[in-house]
Symmetry: C2
Subunit: 335 residues, 2 copies
């Protein structure tokens, strides 16, 4: 691994290091003729500028970092792909880290990214969500950063979010319209803004239809959590006629348990999920769910970040709200 350096190609051509550097950064102060010569022989010698050294002197890396809480479900990978699309096109490379829903590793990830001098960060918070101070410092120190999906209220940064309130409203209303009056909401982690919003949408739909607001049970974003809650409901003999879960995995876990215990879906219990995991349309019965524009979320976040870097200084954080749709499927259909 002996990298050929800029000096090697300089001495080979009997030019100065500066000239070679200029050829690669195609600035002024170089004759196109020599520039092409340099570029040509550099290629022959297999020379590529060392980005480490470049980062050190320029204090920037042409890298962006994306930090997500998990990527076993397809949601985050899809967002990442969207962000990559626009970032790669602009000549940036994208570093991905996952914090495994742990605030601690999330913080380590952030440190690693900062230490590696990424030019900006795209992050979705973990459920634990204990690093807000850290992020405030980061933002204060002018690190460009945009949050998506998992955001909190009081961070002065750009955010791209989904209109959770609205779509939770629609999802709930869909159940109410079918005649359900006993809907249980499996709400998300309580310190996430999106949980609050979805919960409020749930409430609003009830109010509109003048039906007492249903029960709410905290439930994490995993199948296991959904299973746990469903089991609990069965055990306590408090099974409702419908469930609106704040996540698809939660909905699917619950559905599995109910099915296993002899409940018919949607006849005995109607179920609606949220987030449109790739599972939704393939499970039995197909799951009604709110789909989010994953790729679009990633793209928008990336664009926001680029914009923020361009307008450095005179920039105001903005929040972009994206639209979705409710995919009605068998799991919530009136029989």
């Amino acid at each position: 691994m002996k990298h050929t350096t800029i000096k090697d190609v300089a001495s080979k051509l009997n030019v100065s290091v500066s000239t070679v550097s200029r050829a690669f950064n195609d600035k002024y102060d170089i004759r196109t003729e020599t520039k092409e010569l340099v570029l040509k022989t550099a290629k022959e010698m297999g020379y590529r500028p060392n980005p480490i050294a470049r980062k050190l002197i320029q204090q920037r890396s042409l890298n962006f970092g994306i930090i997500v809480p998990e990527f076993v479900n397809s949601f985050f990978p899809e967002v990442i792909i969207g962000a990559q699309e626009v970032l790669l096109a602009e000549g940036y490379q994208v570093l991905i880290m996952q914090s495994n829903e742990s605030s601690e590793t999330e913080m380590k990830n952030v440190d690693t990214m900062v230490d590696n001098m990424v030019d900006g960060l795209i992050v979705s918070l973990t459920c634990e969500n204990e690093n807000i101070e850290k992020y405030k410092e980061l933002i204060a120190s002018e690190m460009p950063i945009v949050f998506f999906n998992r955001v909190v209220d009081d961070l002065p940064a750009s955010k791209v979010v989904f209109d959770d309130y609205k779509w939770a409203f629609f999802a709930t209303e869909h159940l109410l319209v079918q005649g359900h009056t006993d809907i249980v909401h499996l709400s998300g982690p309580k310190n996430l803004l999106l949980s609050k919003n979805r919960s409020q949408g749930f409430d609003a739909a009830h109010r509109k239809h003048k039906i007492p607001v249903g029960r709410k049970i905290p439930c994490g974003f995993s199948m296991e959590e959904g299973e746990r809650v469903a089991l609990d409901l069965i055990k306590k003999d408090e099974v409702p006629t419908a469930i609106f879960a704040a996540s698809d995995p939660g909905a699917i876990g619950a559905m599995k348990v109910f099915k296993d215990h002899g409940y018919a879906i949607p006849k005995d219990i109607a179920i609606v999920g949220f987030s449109e995991s790739s599972l939704a349309e393939h499970i039995a019965p197909p799951l009604t769910s709110v789909s989010q524009p994953t790729r679009d979320i990633g793209q928008t976040a990336a664009k926001l970040l680029l914009e923020q870097i361009d307008t450095k200084g005179l920039f105001v954080p903005q929040t972009i709200v994206l639209n979705g749709r409710l995919n009605v499927r068998e799991s919530s259909m009136k029989v």
Copy 2:
């Protein structure tokens, strides 16, 4: 973003830069007393050694790179998590890149990783698989690298793979035992070793049971591909009584199309997949599939890499074959 540097803490304590550096690295040549003082005030000042500068001088990064062809399905994320578990524990950070099944971006990813001086690489090849020469050069230049899952024969590197032959054999035999004599194999991308192995397992099972080997149709690792192939079979009126797909998404895509066209699963067509995506047990009907020890694959690859780095030089590439199991579910059950 004004990093406090080593100089800042040195001048604050009226010691030399070397001393501070020693406090952070070596144990010799420094009094434990001063070492602790340095460490303490460094922490107070919020100083962290700049890894960029360190990389530049040391020519190593304490970073490892993982390159996967995609991560929309849960297979690769799970492998990554496994690898991270062991690598993080050893003090390394893990950089992840996805090549989107494109050899070109795969190559760019490799370049980025190398340029960023990762100490080693864990990679699973794209289907296109056109960078073998590139990898040969890399290996020749002594870059530690281990391949997994998507490997090719003639790369002199460590590999951790799955016994595709064996499990394809079992999966096929499972169908044969149920009395199927007309099984179509949706084979994977042809330049991947695993495709060949699964295909040969398919053959072997037929031979053992003295039944003519069934048809084979090339089929990519995506639902769309599965749908395409299934549609084609229906159109040509060549629908078999059973299908053994080399991937779960392929199997699921096909299943969807068959169901949509009125075929009953498993009554009209039995289906077996491969890879145990998280979908398998939740779709309708639940999909029989070969499950791979994803996390274990990641861990093993990581360990192999660490080992290779420790025994630098006197190291021989080894291939580790991991075991799996066949999860028999409704999609292939005799009715």
